[in-house]
């Protein structure tokens, strides 16, 4: 089952949860259950997936002390770099399926971008 779920991950990661549920309903109980599980397994609560040169979710709100994990699913390397000059966090280049984690120890709004493809931006709000 895990293998099948992994195969479905990329497809499902592109769908919103609501669409995934709709697709699951249309597909019927068995396949639908796989897909619904896939949707849950695809993205953990504090995970940001990089797909098609986009951070998803683009904006994420988390409590203080949370660790956020970014995973690159593109065939091109990306980075995760905090926007301010102090660079609160900066990953190395993440190749395909590489990940980077950062623990947010204090409250605030952290804008970030990919320093290789700066049109890619995202935001972490720590409350």
């Amino acid at each position: 089952m895990r293998t099948l779920v992994n195969q479905l991950r990329r497809t499902v990661a592109r769908l919103t949860p609501a669409r995934t549920v709709l697709v699951a309903m249309l597909l019927g109980p068995t396949a639908g259950a796989f897909l619904a599980y896939g949707a849950l397994a695809a993205q953990e609560p504090n995970e940001v997936v990089i797909d098609n040169f986009t951070f998803g979710p683009k904006d994420l709100t988390i409590p203080v002390g949370t660790t956020v994990k970014w995973v690159n699913h593109d065939d091109i390397p990306h980075t995760v770099v905090e926007t301010s000059t102090s660079r609160a966090f900066r990953s190395k280049a993440l190749d395909t399926d590489d990940s980077y984690s950062f623990t947010f120890a204090s409250a605030g709004t952290f804008s970030y971008f990919c320093s290789l493809h700066p049109q890619m931006t995202g935001k972490i709000v720590v409350k």
Partner: protein, 315 residues
């Protein structure tokens, strides 16, 4: 063109040279751009005949992505070797090769080693500028500069002269700003201004960088934030040719005396602007891959033709 011939003479452009670009793809079929009315140069033999009249030909190669092994091309080093084999087989040896960046995929020492080895086989002098993929080592650019940055300024920019043409290599992949495009920066622009200051308007200019200097497609970051400032500094020259890479497809435009050209990759194609959800490696049927890859031959011609470029796509 708004300018009259008399104005050109007044500006000392009468003896300007015309650059003629000929793009030759991996299939060996010629894609051609030339001065004046649309016409096709034809096959490689004719191109060789054309260059024989001038004796000055150089190549543009780009986006080799050495180390790339994903679905869009499991062997990017292999297709680069094929391109290099074409260079070695050219009847007239090019004067040099300009590489417009993304030499490597991940800036790994082994990838730069392969670059040294494979490009070294051409026996032709190389002039490099980095792409964003060449500056992602731990030290963010040291690996590139140690290999290919000798004699350059700042992040790796430089200029040189060859047979009356002034060549300028710019770096627009450093210190990019969130939400922005490629970036030259104040220091490099000041250097460029000083570099051009004492040159006459009739000096033919070839300027090359990785990301297109003009904004080709903002949504995908295909442009340079402060590129127009560089182009403004180049406006007074009678012949300016801008060579870029990054987008892995041919794009051409002419504005006044300026000709813009982006080269094919030797590694993988990318989608046309806006034709896919995002840029990135585009998977095409294996038997079509080589028709999407290639390199460019640029011939500097003496003459008094107006500078205009017409493109002809591959068939």
């Amino acid at each position: 063109m708004a300018k009259s011939g008399a104005d050109d003479q007044a500006k000392g452009l009468g003896r300007r040279e015309v650059l003629e670009c000929m793009v030759w793809a991996g299939t060996g079929v010629l894609w051609t751009v030339s001065g004046g009315v649309p016409h096709s140069i034809g096959l490689i033999g004719e191109a060789a005949a054309a260059e024989a009249t001038t004796g000055f030909t150089f190549l543009q190669m780009s986006d080799s992505h050495i180390g790339f092994d994903k679905k869009a091309n499991p062997d990017a080093l292999g297709t680069l070797r094929e391109a290099v084999a074409k260079v070695k087989a050219m009847p007239t040896k090019p004067s040099f090769i300009i590489h417009t960046g993304d030499i490597t995929h991940l800036s790994k020492p082994s990838e730069f080693d392969d670059s040294d080895k494979v490009f070294g086989e051409t026996g032709v002098q190389m002039h490099w500028v980095p792409g964003e993929h060449d500056l992602i080592d731990e030290d963010r650019g040291k690996a590139y500069l140690d290999r290919y940055g000798k004699g350059s300024q700042g992040a790796g920019w430089y200029s040189y002269d060859d047979r009356g043409v002034h060549f300028i290599g710019l770096v627009n992949v450093v210190d990019l700003k969130a939400g922005g495009l490629g970036n030259l920066g104040a220091e490099q622009l000041a250097w460029l201004e000083a570099d051009l200051k004492d040159r006459s308007n009739s000096t033919p200019i070839v300027v090359f960088s990785h990301i297109p200097l003009y904004v080709l497609y903002k949504e995908w970051g295909w442009g340079t934030e402060d590129g127009q400032r560089a182009l403004d500094l180049l406006k007074r020259f009678g012949s300016v040719t801008v060579l870029n890479g990054h987008i892995h497809q041919l794009a051409q435009k002419v504005e006044g005396h300026m000709t813009f050209h982006t080269a094919l990759s030797t590694a993988f194609p990318q989608p046309a602007p806006g034709s896919a959800p995002s840029p990135g490696p585009m998977v095409v049927p294996a038997d079509q891959l080589r028709s999407k890859l290639g390199l460019s031959t640029v011939t500097v011609m003496q003459g008094n033709k107006p500078l205009a470029i017409i493109d002809k796509t591959l068939t």
